[in-house]
Amino acid sequence: MTGDIVVSIDNLSVDLDGRTVLEEANLEVKEGDFLGLIGPNGGGKTTLLRAILGLVKPRSGGVLVYGMSPEAARTRVGYLPQKSLFDQKFPISALEVVMMGRYGRRGLFGRYSLEDRDAALAALSAVGMRESADREIGALSGGQQQRIFVARAIVSEPDLLLLDEPANGIDSSRQREFYELLSELNEKMTIIMVSHDISAVSTYVKKIACVNRRLFYHSSKELTAEEIEEAYKCPVEMIAHGVPHRVLREHD
């Protein structure tokens, strides 16, 4: 299946509240890709993910996911939204949170089955959180919570995983571990990940696209500082650090 087109975005323009957020974006994501989306805040990264989920209406252009409309393909897509400010004392167990990911299979009024429960436990195992299944979500650390939300995103056994700033709220000492989990998941599914952490992106992803209203896509992840600057329209972090040549992992 490798090489099949998973997402194809064609001249996509999106307006939100009268402001153009995306303009004539083109992108093709293939089976097995691990694509990093970088770009400045408000540059349209999240909107791009939401367009792939069919949650925003394009002004022009279109999105196809597995050759279907995004709405029709939704059951094949797992989604981890930007870290939401949920109520940390909400009375809900990790398992119950993960089960939410099975909503697409059950629909309104539907009931979870034993199969859903088994899938949720398996997803918890996959993110190394099986033993925390019955713990309250608020009792877990930020990094553990993110793992639970990854489990929720993968519990529907999606072929495509959309992650919006997944490493937010994870201690920097734990981030490596977390990204390695994502790399593992990438063996089974295509991943598109929004991140502002360029160094992490460059280490773990296979391809990079920069989004700043327009989309600058690179079929490899070897970006030059100039290209990133072009996308951000301002000097980026790494340049401020003065190590432009070590932004991305060196070639083997």
Binding site: L53, F86, I92, S93, M100, G104, R106, Y112
Partner: protein, 285 residues
């Protein structure tokens, strides 16, 4: 004596100053129907209240309850059962506040404030237009559980049963809505419609509770049991069970206290509940 005073209306002869035992108190039929209504209402509060808390719509509930007063006034004016119009007004308020805060530039608390005051004003205008004597107007504001009839008990039971069925059918959906609506939207949950439905469920619950504790005190009975339950339990179902038990206890204790001390029942029930809430909050700090 102020009109609409909701002290027990038929103080037993010869018991002035004497203390009755619980069993003796509940030999009176008006006390039996009061207790039945209170216990069934506790089930309703236990099931709906925790969603009100988790979705942070306590004050939407307050706005809905006060808007219902407009309907009660209209009932007086037309000489029909005020509760029927209370239902119409409160559901309209639920949909109105929900829709306005959803898509216009008016923030939710502004919408609540407008509905709240407009509903009360309408009620006052309607009542004054009716020119009639409105003896139980006070009951609608502060509740009078002792005036609850067996017909009311039946109505409360039917509504409560309906709510339980709805919550059971939509349990997982309401859980997603309450916990993480933006994720729900992303997986196709009709969050906007579900939220409006929840507000309508709150509106119907409020009307039922008006009979018991009145418009002004409704929101306390709806939320205090759930708030305490939340301090002591970590799962939604357990919180519901605790809230039902607590609600019933508040009604029972409040009812007996109000009878023994000859003070208004609605306020006594709420003071019992809020006193327990403060104690529980201090203990679980």
């Amino acid at each position: 004596m102020p009109r609409g005073d909701d002290r027990p209306r038929r103080p037993p002869q010869g018991f002035e100053g004497a203390r009755l035992t619980m069993i003796e108190i509940f030999q009176y039929e008006f006390m039996q129907s009061a207790l039945a209504a209170g216990i069934i209402a506790s089930v309703l509060c236990g099931v709906i209240g925790i969603y009100v808390i988790l979705n942070r719509i306590v004050f939407i509930g307050g706005g809905i309850a006060h808007t219902a007063f407009g309907g009660i006034g209209l009932g007086y004016l037309l000489g029909m059962d005020p509760l029927i119009f209370a239902v119409l007004f409160s559901v309209a308020a639920a949909l109105g506040i929900g829709a306005i805060s959803d898509r216009s530039r008016v923030s939710e608390d502004t919408a609540i404030g407008v509905f709240w005051a407009a509903g009360m004003s309408l009620g006052i205008v309607f009542v004054s237009l009716s020119r009639g004597y409105a003896p139980d107007l006070f009951d609608y504001l502060f509740g009078n559980i002792l005036a609850v009839s067996w017909n009311d008990v039946l109505l409360i039971s039917v509504l409560t049963l309906g709510m339980i069925v709805l919550v059971a059918l939509l349990y997982k959906d309401l859980l997603i809505l309450s916990f993480d609506p933006s994720y729900g939207e992303a997986v196709g949950l009709p969050t906007r419609e579900l939220r409006l439905l929840l507000l309508c469920m709150v509106a119907l619950s409020v009307v039922v509770l008006i009979k018991i504790v009145g418009i002004i005190l409704v929101i306390a009975l709806l939320t205090i049991p759930g708030a305490i339950g939340r301090q002591h339990a970590q799962s939604l179902k357990r919180i519901m069970a605790i809230s039902i038990f607590l609600g019933a206890s508040f009604v029972l204790v409040g009812l007996v206290l109000s009878y023994q001390l000859n003070i208004p029942s609605g306020a006594t029930i709420i003071l019992t509940a809020s006193g327990t809430f403060f104690a529980s909050t201090l203990l679980t700090r």
